[in-house]
């Protein structure tokens, strides 16, 4: 269990900014589910729960998700269920139980860039941007590829477009971490294929996505694309599964996701 020496609860983002500048090693508290597993000694902690970041806001063009929105909020949100074939609610609904999802926050889940994340593949399949206090807005894919810098994630912004999305995952026990997961989206003619829990972090299979995008439906079959994705991405072994098995399952999940999008 972690310990906290001093805590700050700012009410505005400008106060947050001042605090972050004053304490370079300040630790932002998310849902604390994973922080709790560590015995970190935190000198200065920052709580964002009074900064109006616990709302999901729907605009004409976007859905904006505050960093303190819980995974349970996402699961229940009408807009997120209505858009993108409900891929985001579907992805989070596999994570443990309602009590846990009512604690875990989207900001921490994205900021920590967990390899086993169920959320990242789904978010990567959408037109998703992250908003950072200091770094400003950037596409999620750029955020993920950069090293973790000391910053505060304030919002996730998703463009409302009429894309079809499929989220697939393979687990042994229902409440376990995924052995592998995948998300596939189709926006107009553009396809995106993402595979996560490899066990490394979710990544876009760029070549396979291009292959699918450049081919008219019918000329490339989903199995070939899935095979391409499994050759393009790297897979590793851990206690849950071997690299070879993950690579083989990548073909299965990606194929199923493509077929679900086409269905």
């Amino acid at each position: 269990m972690f310990t906290i020496e001093s805590l700050h609860q700012p009410q505005t983002l400008s106060e947050v900014k001042q605090l972050v500048e004053k304490y370079p090693d300040i630790t932002v508290l998310g849902g604390c589910g994973f922080l709790k597993l560590s015995s970190r000694k935190i000198p200065v902690a920052l709580d964002l729960s009074r900064c109006e970041l616990e709302k999901i806001h729907e605009t004409e063009q976007h859905i904006e998700i505050g960093a303190m929105v819980t995974l349970r909020d996402i699961e229940k949100n009408p807009a997120l269920n209505q858009w993108f074939d409900g891929a985001l609610p579907k992805a989070v609904s596999h994570i443990l139980g309602v009590q846990f999802r009512s604690c875990a926050t989207i900001g921490a889940s994205v900021y920590a860039k967990y390899g086993f994340s169920d959320i990242l593949p789904a978010l990567l399949a959408l037109d998703t941007q992250v908003e950072l206090l200091r770094g400003g807005r950037m596409p999620l894919v750029d955020f993920l590829s950069k090293p973790i810098t000391r910053d505060v994630l304030t919002r996730i912004v998703i463009t409302k477009d009429k894309r079809r999305v499929s989220y697939q995952n393979l687990r042994n026990a229902g409440a376990d971490f995924p052995l592998l997961n995948a998300a596939v989206s189709k926006h107009d003619a553009e396809w995106k294929i993402i595979v996560g829990a490899r066990p490394a972090r979710a990544e876009i299979a760029v070549q396979a996505s291009k292959l699918l995008t450049s081919s008219a439906y019918g000329t490339v079959d989903s199995g070939t694309v899935a095979m391409a994705a499994s050759m393009e991405l790297a897979f590793g072994s851990n206690n849950k599964a071997s690299a070879e098995y993950r690579q083989a399952m990548c073909q299965v999940l990606v194929k199923r996701a493509i077929e679900e999008v086409l269905a």
Binding site: M1, C32, K36, L96, G97, V98, Q99, F100, C103
Partner: protein, 151 residues
């Protein structure tokens, strides 16, 4: 840090550490139904309601629930007993150690979902582990409870 918590409709003036979890705060105030079963936020034994919604009190920092309504099973004894009698008729409380958290989740579900299917029930209760019963008797009891039958 000094704060006031509204627990089972009573206001408690408390001095809690910033890293204190709600489960510990509640146990220290005598709410001994709160149990920790896993230390890794995945067993559901410590479930309480915050503004009527089930959360893990072992993972919820106490300072964060200031100003919200905290409910433990001690605060809803008549309804908990109603369901507990049905559960006991199935023998599905067994060791009883996971029951308070389980019952808090069942009643929250009853309040939140209208006419849940068996699959909805399983999904809502996925975060409540039980090692004794094998879950079947719990499902029978939930169905009886949702039908409104009093035993």
């Amino acid at each position: 840090m000094k704060l006031e918590l509204l627990i089972n409709q009573k206001i408690y003036a408390l001095d809690v550490a910033p890293d204190e979890m709600l489960a510990d705060t509640l146990r220290s105030k005598g709410f001994l139904s709160i149990r920790k079963g896993c230390d890794t936020s995945c067993c559901g034994l410590c479930t309480v309601w915050i503004d009527g919604k089930p959360v893990l009190s072992c993972t919820m920092l106490s300072f964060r629930v200031a100003g919200k309504a905290i409910t433990t099973i001690e605060g809803i004894q008549p309804e908990a007993e109603k369901f507990a009698r049905i559960l006991a008729a199935e023998g599905s409380e067994q060791c009883g150690f996971c029951s308070p958290g389980f019952i808090m989740t069942v009643i929250a579900m009853k309040n939140e979902l209208k006419n849940p299917t068996e699959q909805d029930i399983q999904h809502y209760l996925a975060g409540n582990l039980c090692r004794c019963t094998g879950y079947m008797g719990q499902m029978r009891a939930i169905k009886t409870y949702l039908r409104g039958e009093v035993q």
